[in-house]
């Protein structure tokens, strides 16, 4: 028996073909690189493996030495798939999974791993709609997988199914994964189809994202130090959406008053009320944004011996967005230890601790939101008093009667989050005998969120309370344990034919506990003292908990014949506390197969196609993420709201549904990986068809039940699509290499069944109906402007033939969708000697985006707010003028009953864009002599810019088209450009 590892990293290599020369005997290594092959001293073993050079070994007397295979530098280096339950080779894998190497995203100025994944995986749509560092990021794999529940993928870190998403209760946005340091990630696997996700049972149908952290490697201890610094700056607002300058606003307002027929005297007094003639103004967007900073420092130590390996790291990351007071600081540490207790028993420990500190200003149209203020406030509302102090007056046209002074708010209010996460895992592996292994795994995902809110007593949300403060303590204690047996059976008498079988048991419990305390009445005399203890009147004291459990058995098998034909199957039975009592347990299964055509003899007749693999799978997986912990149980809630005449009360207010359970997806997937020209070019097309049944909908029930709605597994939805990944090395010479990676995904979503009575408008601007995309917009259609008089017009019919000036008569029409029809990434790296230039693009086509606040910045009916540049430039002024912006009339156009700016298709824009997400230029010092003199093993310097260039396709578009997944521009903290300079040093 022996073990095979990679020569460069010391990691075990599964699936290596081991042959005894001169015989027919042979075997493949198992998931840990071990193999057993009866042989005698002096015979020769031959080791071969895709991507590695063939190696031979004469069997010595005694124990076999560790076999270290050297890499054969080829493109297809992603050879291992780890899904949290087992490890296998890409060739033997029957599922659909994409691997992103951690090294690809190291040192990028992205505060969350999701942000870095954008554009790197075909079919994985990542919507970075907020520039708040540490913002929650919506991710959709192969289209929208759920409408009522959470449609994000399941996240697994080092085997642990974690609580993900936004766990905060007060912060504007937060991301449970913001504590993960990109430099600690070894690889990210995205599991897509049934063969890959069914093992995750009732939680896998939206895809599973497996994050594996770095582990110690055999050999000389390596110390690595990375440092970078830089700045963040505003991404330019599209010209159409720039707020007006003071003189433009003054001109437009005056014109609007004239158009409304006001007398000269009234116009003058209105102007004066707004300070238009005062000569004093300011540019709000410039005031609420600034140049921010970006820094990160990482140090890691990596080393070990045959028996003990250690990886440890410490990281610091800080980012200021350009918006005032929007920032994040992360400190993270990782310690991973692998130790062989004996030949048969090994243990591994993971310890990942991080703290993320954020301040998160409001978004959307809150009066206290800085970005909303920058758009809504007139340039003549003055940030500063004459004496240079901040203006906090709330009356008068040059002060702040509605939106607050954002500078005052950002200086005085607090909206902070401190998120501390500890992720601890322990694995015991015991090789009972050569074919049978036992693995025991236990992990804790411990999350503490301490949030502080403070609204000052002078101006803003706190002023009516004399100051408002709150402390929000939230703790998640989430544990998981898993015990698993793996057995390998080498089919007797058939060479290279084996069957792997796995059986396991898993249990998980997550306990959330929270306490809320709020108070009012702060001393205005001490504006810098903001802790809750200073509040004079306590108003809220609440504390409770919320738990869920999962209990599962699972098994899988795989039959592999010569790495040529592989057939696999999996089964999982999941029970959860969340499910209704009628349906506590669900069964999930998959079958998959792959045919490595390149192993066939006929394949070797040609030399154009260098590798070919066909894989297909079918099976089921479920989704229960976001299902309320107690939603299935009819219950009577005890609450102070139900206290009557001094007696505490309980009201039967949760209808419950004993049949409430997971949503179930039937997934079919087929794909082929083709490599050409000695693997210089790889093309991988893939087709999928995911049919989701038991889609949870909120259904109206007879109110004689005492309730209006109940959630029920009743709808059905289909996602089908095509993914294509092309990887290539178009140029490869001694000094110059160009490698490229292109991926694209097309998805079609449609409702295939909706509950009776739910067809119709949903979420105000969409239409729910069988056959339609879930995010199909539904709105009145704008017909432009009457060139004769500047009135706004709308269509009264779906065929767009008749128009009206009466908004009430305009017809609602289903038109366009919020989710993209096509998206992907295009990444290139050029290497010339030590130089390396990388350009990464992300693109998104076929969707429309909606501006729910557009009307405020477009019409004279909202003349007290600033306006978009597009309105100023294109407004109707003269008879005969053909334009799409109506006449500007303060109070609205009379012919339109003042509704000329009302919501219509006018505020929908093409969401198409291409973005240069990342551009970096580095130089790797390859002069060994120089490095030696410096005492270094590696030295690399780089400059990097992110979000440097964006191409959009709608000249009317007033904002960045990368918005929320539902297509809304929610006035989030704007994304930023970063410019950084960094250095990586290896000792």
């Amino acid at each position: 028996m022996g073990k095979v590892v990679g020569a460069d990293d010391g990691l075990s290599l599964p699936g290596v073909s081991v042959k005894l020369q001169g015989t027919q005997k042979g075997v493949l290594t198992d998931g840990d690189g071990n193999f057993v092959l009866p042989a005698s001293t002096g015979q020769t073993l031959e080791f071969s493996f895709v991507g590695y050079k063939i190696q031979q070994l004469v069997i010595p007397a005694g124990n076999l030495p560790l076999i270290k295979l050297k890499q054969d530098s080829r493109l297809l280096s992603e050879v291992v798939v780890t899904d949290g339950y087992s490890t296998t080779t890409k060739k033997a894998y029957t599922g659909s999974a994409t691997t992103v190497k951690g090294s690809q995203n190291e040192n990028k100025p992205f505060s969350t791993p999701q942000q870095a994944l954008q554009g790197e995986v075909a079919g994985l749509a990542v919507s970075v709609n907020s520039g708040q560092p540490g913002a929650n990021i919506q991710v959709r794999l192969r289209g929208l997988g759920s409408t009522y529940l959470d449609a994000n993928p399941l996240y697994v870190i080092d085997g642990m199914i974690i609580n993900s998403g936004d766990l905060s209760r007060s912060a504007t946005t937060a991301n449970a994964m913001a504590g993960i340091n990109e430099n600690d990630i070894e690889s990210i696997q995205v599991l897509k189809d049934a063969a890959a996700t069914a093992i995750y049972g009732s939680r896998g149908s939206n895809g599973v994202i497996i994050i594996t952290t770095k582990r110690g490697k055999n050999g000389k201890t390596q110390v690595r130090f990375d440092a970078e610094g830089g700045v963040t700056t505003n991404m330019a607002i599209p010209d159409a959406g720039k707020p007006l300058t003071a003189s433009q606003y003054g001109e437009l307002y005056t014109e609007g008053l004239k158009n409304a027929g006001y007398s000269a005297a009234t116009i003058l007094s209105s102007q004066n009320a707004y300070g238009i003639n005062s000569g004093q103004s300011n540019n709000w967007y410039d005031l609420v944004t600034k140049r921010g900073s970006q820094q990160q420092y990482n140090v890691s130590v990596n080393g070990g011996s045959d028996n003990t390996k250690v990886f440890s790291s410490l990281g610091y990351f800080h980012q200021d967005a350009t918006t005032l007071n929007s920032k994040l600081t992360r400190i993270s540490g990782l310690l991973n230890i692998d130790h062989n207790i004996s030949k048969r028993i090994s243990i591994s420990t993971n310890l990942n601790v991080s703290n993320v500190n954020q301040n998160t200003p409001y978004n959307s149209t809150y009066y206290s939101a800085p970005i909303a203020s920058a758009y809504f406030l007139r340039p003549y509302q003055l940030a500063y008093n004459a004496d240079g102090s901040l203006n906090s007056s709330t009356s008068g046209g040059t002060n702040f009667p509605s939106f607050y002074n954002p500078l005052y708010i950002s200086q005085n209010d607090v909206h902070g989050l401190s998120q501390t996460r500890g992720l601890i895992g322990e694995t015991l592996k015991w090789t009972i005998w050569d074919q049978l292994k036992f693995t025991s795994f236990a992990s804790i995902d411990y999350n503490v969120l301490e949030e502080t809110y403070y609204a000052n007593p002078t101006m803003g949300d706190g002023s009516v309370y004399g100051g408002y403060g709150g402390d929000y303590y939230t703790r998640y204690f989430n544990w998981l344990t898993r015990n698993q047996l793996d057995y390998r059976y080498n089919v007797k008498g058939v060479q290279d034919f084996y069957i792997d079988a796995t059986v396991g048991y898993e249990a998980q419990r997550s306990q959330e506990n929270y306490v809320t305390a709020e108070g009012t009445g702060y001393a205005a005399s001490a504006p810098t003292l903001t802790t809750l203890s200073l509040a004079s009147t306590p108003v809220t004291a609440q504390g409770t908990y919320s738990n869920y459990t999962y209990n599962s058995i699972y098994s899988r098998f795989s039959a592999n014949y010569k790495n040529k034909y592989v057939l696999s199957g999996s089964f999982r039975r999941d029970g959860s506390s969340k499910f209704g009592s009628n349906v506590k347990y669900g069964n999930f299964w998959s079958v998959g197969g792959s045919w490595n055509i390149d192993e066939e003899n006929f394949f070797k007749q040609q030399n154009i196609v260098s590798a070919a693999k066909l894989h297909a799978s079918y099976g089921t997986s479920g989704n229960a993420n976001g299902l309320g912990n107690y939603a299935s149980k009819g219950s009577a809630t005890i609450s102070s709201d139900y206290t009557y005449a001094g007696y505490s009360g309980a009201n039967y207010d949760v209808i419950g549904n004993n049949s409430l359970t997971w949503e179930s997806a039937r997934k079919f997937d087929i794909g082929i990986d083709l490599s050409f020209f000695k693997n210089r070019l790889t093309i991988s097309p893939e087709y999928y068809h995911n049919s989701i049944n038991g889609l949870i909908q909120n259904v109206a029930v007879s109110q004689t039940t005492g309730f209006s709605n109940a959630i029920e597994n009743i709808g059905a939805m289909l996602n089908k699509g095509l993914e294509l990944t092309i990887q290539g090395v178009p140029i490869k010479s001694k000094d110059f290499t160009w490698s490229t990676n292109f991926n694209v995904a097309f998805n079609r979503n449609k409702m295939t069944s909706v509950a009776e009575g739910t067809t119709g408008v949903h979420d105000t601007y969409y239409y729910l109906a069988k056959g339609l995309d879930y995010y199909s917009y539904y709105t009145k259609q704008y017909a432009g402007v009457n060139p004769a008089n500047g009135d706004a017009l709308w269509y009264t019919d779906a065929t767009r033939t008749k128009t009206t000036t009466n908004y009430a008569e305009a017809k609602y029409v289903v038109n366009h969708q919020a989710d993209p029809k096509m998206f992907g990434g295009f990444n290139n790296t050029w290497n010339y000697k030590g130089f390396s230039l990388t350009a990464e693009f992300y693109y998104n086509f076929g969707n429309y985006v909606y501006d729910p606040i557009g009307r405020y910045f477009s019409g004279g009916a909202y003349s007290s707010y600033n306006k978009y540049q597009y309105i100023y430039t294109n407004r109707w002024t003269t008879p005969g003028q053909v334009t799409d912006v109506p006449k500007y009339v303060v109070g609205g156009i009379a012919d339109n009953n003042g509704s000329d700016a009302a919501v219509s298709s006018r505020y929908w824009y093409s969401g198409d864009y291409i973005r240069l997400k990342n551009l970096s230029l580095g130089y790797d010092f390859k002069d060994v002599g120089l490095l030696k003199r410096l005492g270094l093993s590696k030295l690399n310097v780089y400059v990097r810019g992110t979000n440097l260039w964006t191409k959009t396709y709608d000249s009317r578009l007033p904002f960045d088209p990368e918005v929320d997944i539902n297509g809304y521009n929610s006035l989030s903290i704007p994304k930023v450009k970063t410019y950084t300079v960094g250095i990586n040093v290896g000792l």
């Binding site: 459990t549 209990n551 206290t643 009360g649 309980a650 209808i655 309730f707």
Partner: protein, 478 residues
């Protein structure tokens, strides 16, 4: 293979496949109890009773909508031209099945019925305390059905076999969330109401037991009987109405305010009563749990929305010496003069006005009307004059007989029970044309006459109920 290996395998196998107990999948909600097992003790039942009353006192039901509409749909009140947008379609009889109040009343009524059904379905060993609480639940359910059947169904006196409302007597956890009950006939609903009130009266001890305070915030034995008198009166069953009302009058121990000052003090008070003066049952509005800006007091009082005003006609119907005239202020609803309802006076206080649901004066007037309808003018005049002359000591006693006497009694009911939500039912059960005083520029759009043929005398079944419940039928005209 060594024996030891087998032991290892056995050990690994046991650890791997050992599953937790089934109870591992049971997680209990920390702020709620599973409804099936939520009432197992007397105190558990009391907690549910509190929940039932808080459901009932919502502004969408007894807390505002019901008492407002009972006068607004008739001739006692109107919506000012200066308004917050509330009750405009009711003021003008243009409501449709999607109107918000139509659905609010329906859904909140059935929510209250659900809370009562939960209590009645629980099995807790009988005791005085349990009997009292179960009686309160029966009386609540009956009271809510009486309101429902009179708003959404034909008056019993007009057509008892017409469609009433669905009768639900079981909690939803036993029927399932997706049950779709049909409407029962008006007479079937009345049968249920009478049965429930008989149960309530029989169950509840004459003296409220120790489970909760004995005050006007809780339904009592004689409150149930008083509601039964009302049900029989609405049904046109005057003999039974008389008998029920007599039981309350003779045995209930209630009294009317004996003086002008006692009368004023009674209406000024925001707290519950233990002296059995005037109130038989009223819903508690405390300083911590009340309807806030949506309260009944706020819709009338000019310190609240103040949208709904007293008609000039009603104001003028009171004599100058009538105590009750003092409950209406001659004031201004900008920019017009207006008569402002001042029955609920504590809108600016933290402890807000209780909402009166059953008062003793109603019982006495029911008694008078029953006697009059049964031909006993003498007894009728006794009870009518007892109320009328206490309210206006200068009033010459009523002396009429026959239909004039009945008309006098209905007129006295209008004056006594104004702004407590009775007038509309008095007009519909007597199949009267509703002549609504027109207030000109002071009023939002309002129709003057509601004939007996007007289908809006009956509210529409809410559209959301029609959509969700295939078994239900809409009322004619909607």
């Amino acid at each position: 293979m060594k024996v030891r290996n087998y032991i290892y395998i056995l050990l690994a196998g046991i650890v791997t496949l050992a599953s937790c107990k089934k109870s591992f999948l049971e997680e209990e909600n920390p702020t709620a109890v599973a409804v099936e097992s939520s009432i197992t003790t007397e105190t558990g039942m009391l907690t549910a009773i509190s929940g039932m009353y808080t459901s009932m006192k919502s502004y969408t039901l007894f807390g505002r909508n019901l008492p407002v509409l009972g006068d607004l749909l008739a001739d006692n009140s109107y919506v000012s031209i200066t308004n917050s947008g509330r009750y405009l379609t009711e003021n003008n009889y243009t409501y449709i099945a999607t109107a918000s109040e139509i659905d609010e009343i329906w859904s909140q009524a059935y929510n209250t019925i659900l809370q009562a059904n939960r209590i009645l379905y629980a099995s807790v060993p009988a005791s005085d305390n349990v009997n009292q609480l179960r009686g309160e639940a029966y009386a609540t359910r009956a009271l809510v059905y009486l309101q429902l059947v009179n708003l959404y169904g034909q008056p019993y006196t007009v057509n008892p076999s017409a469609a009433g409302v669905p009768i639900v007597t079981q909690p939803t956890y036993t029927t399932g969330a997706f049950t779709k009950p049909a409407r029962s006939s008006v007479s079937a609903v009345y049968d249920r109401i009478i049965t429930d009130l008989d149960s309530a009266y029989t169950l509840m001890p004459a003296t409220t037991p120790a489970i909760h305070d004995a005050n006007s915030n809780f339904l009592s034995k004689y409150a149930a009987k008083a509601i039964e008198a009302r049900a029989y009166l609405y049904k046109g069953d005057y003999a039974n109405a008389r008998d029920a009302a007599l039981l309350v009058a003779n045995n209930g121990g209630f009294s009317l305010a004996a003086s002008s000052s006692a009368f004023s003090a009674y209406w000024a008070s925001a707290t519950n009563r233990t002296d059995k003066l005037e109130t038989i049952f009223e819903l508690n509005m405390s300083s911590t749990v009340n309807n806030g800006y949506n309260g009944l007091d706020a819709i009338y009082n000019q310190d609240g929305y103040g949208d709904v005003l007293c008609t000039d006609d009603l104001y003028n119907s009171y004599t100058a010496t009538d105590f009750r005239k003092s409950l209406i202020l001659d004031g201004t609803r900008t920019p017009y003069q207006a008569y402002i309802v001042n029955k609920y006076q504590n809108v600016l206080q933290s402890d807000r006005d209780e909402v009166k649901v059953v008062r003793y004066a109603e019982v006495l007037l029911t008694l008078a009307e029953s006697y009059a309808q049964l031909g006993d003018s003498g007894e009728a005049l006794t009870y009518l004059n007892r109320v009328a002359q206490l309210r206006d000591p200068s009033l010459a006693a009523y002396t009429a007989t026959g239909t004039t006497l009945v008309a006098d009694i209905l007129n006295e009911r209008r004056k006594e029970l104004a702004f407590e939500g009775y007038r509309f039912f008095d007009l519909t059960r007597t199949a009267a044309v509703i002549n609504r005083p027109q207030e000109g520029a002071k009023s939002a759009a309002s129709i003057a006459t509601v004939t007996t043929a007007n289908t809006r005398r009956i509210l529409p079944i809410p559209q959301v109920e029609i959509n969700a419940n295939a078994s239900i039928t809409q009322n004619p005209g909607y």
